[in-house]
């Protein structure tokens, strides 16, 4: 018996996207992998294979160490801050209450603003002389900081800026919380479970799969979106404090004509992302929140 041929309709519908992914993502990624082991400058057409030369260069690249440190500091601070802001605000504003729609809009608004505009805005916010942040600190008797001139405060300044565009995570938490059955909360209240008990015993465990997903997404994002603020606010300075990996990659590839070396660093960035996420998922598995 002849088996009927599976219809090609499905493949036809998939084709536009599949072709785009192949041409725009998969092929460049593979090329990138190849270029990492050449002397490609991005300007000439005949890159030569150089074996592990770039890897050796990487091993004693002091700037790369600075860049790594900056990126890890940023992830360690920015992910928890953004995550807590998105989850906290999402849960607080999920319940219908008077004026809730305005608060929700306010939380989402910074996400709509283009990165560069937000960064320019933060140039003003963080200005040591007339910036509102130092003025606020002045109200409590603090002399303020020279935000972008000091390595530590510059890094905190970037995190501060990125603590505002949290709209997507916020919306996801809001929607997920609203899907939870209100009767579960009534059942818990009947058992004497107060607001914090309900948060700990119901809301967080029930939202756990969503929260893990958000955290994974935010780690990937946070390792990459610091490019714009670093470029606009500090240009990687002071003392390489904000020379995050994306900034370093950009500098290598487009400023120093080190296309091949930049390619190798992108692979490093991907590996670091993978390691952090694996660590997170292993930690989560121990708590058994994902069944």
């Amino acid at each position: 018996m002849k088996r009927p041929r599976p219809p090609l309709t499905g493949w036809a519908f998939l084709a536009p996207y599949a072709i785009a992914v192949a041409v725009l993502v998969a092929v460049p990624a593979l090329l990138n992998l190849g270029y990492a082991f050449t002397d490609h400058t991005g300007l000439t057409r005949d890159p030569q294979f150089t074996g592990l030369a770039n890897v050796r260069r990487m091993l004693d690249d002091r700037f790369l160490l600075d860049s790594l440190e900056a990126s890890l500091f940023h992830v360690a601070l920015a992910v928890p801050v953004r995550f807590l802001a998105a989850v906290g605000l999402g849960l607080l504003l999920a319940a219908p209450r008077p004026g809730g729609r305005w608060f929700r809009t306010a939380v989402y608004l910074p996400t709509v603003i283009p990165d560069v505009a937000l960064a320019v805005l933060f140039l003003w916010v963080l200005n040591p002389l007339y910036g509102p942040l130092n003025q606020l600190l002045g109200l409590v008797g603090h002399s303020g900081y020279n935000w972008l001139a000091d390595p530590t405060t510059a890094r905190i300044g970037v995190v501060l800026m990125l603590a505002f565009p949290i709209g997507e995570g916020f919306i996801v938490v809001l929607a997920a919380r609203r899907l939870l059955d209100g009767r579960l909360y009534q059942a818990a209240a009947l058992e004497g479970c107060g607001p914090f008990g309900q948060l700990r015993r119901l809301t967080l465990p029930l939202l756990a799969p969503v929260l893990v997903l958000l955290a994974v997404r935010d780690i990937i994002l946070t390792l990459q979106v610091n490019f714009v603020p670093a470029y606009v606010l500090t240009d990687g300075r002071p003392a390489n404090a904000t020379l995050y990996l994306p900034v370093y990659i950009f500098d290598q590839v487009f400023e120093f004509s080190g296309f091949a070396y930049g390619s190798l660093v992108t692979i490093l960035l991907m590996l670091i992302t993978a390691v952090i996420i694996t660590g997170l998922l292993l930690a989560v598995r121990r708590w058994r929140v994902l069944r």
Partner: protein, 336 residues
């Protein structure tokens, strides 16, 4: 708390509105200790709201809830000695059966070993001892219902509040579970308020039945008494399936303009000497009985319940004899 038997409930002029809708409209009701009482009414009649007011999940706009003679307005839900079984059970989906059962005990800081012991005992009692490691989505409706009951049992309350506990079970299981509920109540002898929109449950489960409509009590009494002597046309039409035939002005049943006459389908019999003539429009054969839908010459429709195989078909002319007529005031609908 005052002395005397535990578990008496008195509702006094209890009122609750949501916006312009009055869900509960001045309810007065007394539930005796150990009684199983059924609140029945169409959806929107306020029965679930009454449960929520007793449980403390909602606050009345007016009136009082008295448990064992004490006004519980200031008592939070978990201190009210009530346990509630929700419609669809409200089991915690992220916890196993054991986790669901020990939830309240753990919140009240009972040690884990003790909580486990009590949970296992309650589960054994309801025959779900072998399901403790399952999650709610791995169980059937009947099993989940038992978990919800076990969870209520563990609170050792003086009042059980059951909100349509059988509504999401299939017909066969509902029949069996109804008997189980009754047996459990006989064993525990704890005051139970049971809400349903199903008149079969109302007839079979309660010591007394409370018929509600639009937030008001229409009638309270033992099920058979309410069935035999409905207080008004609403109760008459609501309890009984198919519902009572109600003829405004008496019509073919005789009587006068000031009255609405009612007769239950089983009190109409096919009788060649009967005074009422009607044409059969349809026959619903239900196996053990048959329902005839008939129409009289003046347009009045009468439903007749007969034995199986009535020997008539659509288009046939029949004569009917009416027994046990109910008389209601045409203006107020109250029983005369």
């Amino acid at each position: 708390m005052s002395d005397g038997p535990r578990g008496t409930i008195r509702l006094a002029a209890l009122t609750r509105s949501y916006g312009r809708t009055t869900a509960v409209d001045g309810i007065d009701l007394e539930v005796r200790a150990g009684e199983l009482i059924t609140l029945v009414g169409p959806s929107g009649s306020g029965k679930s709201t009454i449960l929520r007011l007793i449980a403390g999940l909602d606050r009345p706009d007016g009136g009082q809830v008295l448990v064992d003679g004490t006004d519980v307005a200031a008592v939070p839900p978990h201190r009210r000695a009530v346990a509630m079984v929700f419609q669809d059970y409200a089991l915690f989906p992220h916890l196993t059966v054991l986790g669901n059962l020990t939830f309240g005990l753990r919140v009240r800081r009972v040690r884990r070993a003790e909580a486990d012991r009590r949970a296992r005992a309650a589960a054994e009692r309801l025959g779900i001892g072998d399901l403790l490691e399952r999650y709610p989505d791995q169980m059937s409706g009947g099993q989940r219902q038992r978990v919800a009951l076990a969870r209520a049992l563990l609170r050792d309350p003086s009042v059980y509040l059951l909100d349509e506990p059988l509504a999401s079970l299939d017909a066969q299981l509902r029949f069996a579970t109804r008997a189980d509920l009754l047996a459990l109540h006989r064993e525990l002898r704890t005051t139970t308020i049971h809400v349903t929109h199903d008149q079969h449950e109302a007839m079979t489960l309660g010591d007394r039945v409370v018929v509600l409509a639009a937030g008001r009590v229409r009638q309270v009494g033992p099920p058979q008494q309410v069935y035999d002597e409905p207080a008004d046309t609403f109760v008459a039409g609501f309890l009984g399936s198919p519902p009572m035939n109600l003829v405004p002005g008496g019509g073919v049943l005789g009587g006068d303009e000031a009255m609405t006459l009612g007769v239950r389908p089983e009190d109409l019999t096919l009788d060649d000497a009967g005074p009422v003539t009607a044409t059969v429009e349809a026959v619903e054969a239900l196996g053990s009985e048959a329902i005839l839908l008939t129409r009289c010459p003046d347009g009045t429709r009468l439903t007749v319940r007969t034995g199986p195989r009535p020997g008539v078909g659509p288009g046939d002319e029949v004569r009917l004899l009416a027994d046990r007529l109910h008389r209601f005031d045409a203006a107020t609908g109250r029983r005369r």
